[in-house]
Amino acid sequence: METGRLTMEEFQLVNKTDGLTISSKKKNVKESKAAEASIANCKVEIIRMDPFEMEIDFIGFNISLVNAYRRIILAEVPTMAIEKVYMYNNTSIVQDEVLAHRLGLVPLKVDPRYFEFRNKEETEWGAQDSVKYSLNVRCSKNPKAAADETNPDILYLNRKVMSSSLKWIPLGNQTDIFQEANMQPLHQDILLAKMNSGHEINLEAFAVKGIGSDHAKFQPGLAWYRLLPEIELTREVEGEQADLLQKCFSPGVIDVVTTPGGRRLAKVNDTRNDACSRNVFQYDSIKDSVKLTRKTDHVIFFVESHSALKSYEILEEAVNIMIGKCSLLLAETDKLIESSAPS
């Protein structure tokens, strides 16, 4: 695949491959397996990774493929979230529907890969497709509080209802498969409601498996990408102008170095972190000294997890879903070819 450059000029972006693609395609007509050839040139590289966040470089891939992964992570990678709430008693000032909505947004530690999607017509809560929680809290006066205490957090017991109060109730044989620590909310300190003395909340909640295109609470995390920026200095920039140039870019992108001769010159250090602001075009004195481009075949891909899945697991799931789509359609095309063959 040809390495494309997107040039960032003062008032426009110019894609240098625009004119090339057609002519290069004509030239490569003999190379029928363009897709196969491109696999060999492809590379992925993890820049940093932990369970919550990762930054990974996709080098040599077609951007449509990378965008497909992004779209799948946002809309189609499944997770578990509370979907149905049975409210038995709620005398707090938070309305039933508001509380139920807040419960739905609580991320759970439950691994969705152990569960099935719940059937729409299903009336029972089965062990294979749902997780049960109960929340039973009551707020009362704290007998140990000092007489002149004014802080309501000390004055009352259970003033704040936190996500840690959600208790997992195993369904069917779930105790054999899961441990309680793995079924809790991901964060123990999510504030669900505030109560006053005498208030009470008593409810049961059921979590199911779902996907982000149904509701954002099912999204496993966030994903976004950017193209690798490149900066080329076309002439020497010296002294105060070098400082000015440095200020036009994100921190760490341009270095000002002192040469043995005592001259202070601008030097490109690390373009990766540049925000591509194009501030440099504000200054007529230096705007002719740089050429700003982005590499169209080098994608910096970010995944951020706020669910049970780790960041790299989310990405792997996205690729699996894409493979699943292809397999399903391949079978369908086979059917279509077969049905049209006799005629």
């Binding site: 007509v29 492809c42 996907i211 049209s340």
Partner: protein
Amino acid sequence: MPVGADGFRLPNVNESQFKNKLECLTGPGQNEHCCTFVINGEDHTLGNALKHFIVQNPAVEFCGYTVPHPMERKIHIRIQTWDTPAVEVLHQALKDLKKQNEAVKKLIQDEVKRYQEAHPQQDLEK
């Protein structure tokens, strides 16, 4: 997993439950070499990636995709070829796309393993 056809959205009156995943439009301007395929339950995610793989095939004269209406979960893929049947081009592109995805999966798994070995203390439990 079909997008949108799941969950708790009520099915549209115009949607039949038993529609085929892949269909071929009929009518004028449709023949073996010039064909518009309808893929139900898919969107830009697959459409754009598939289009890019189809146009890489030198047997293809033209390929484009469209989402006819944003509320209907389906895409139209138009393929015009020089002399190969359009359905074979589609089949080849799907095979290439699947192969590429499997390669990506392998690359990611290897890279994750390499990174975890290089940074053993970092993979903390959530």
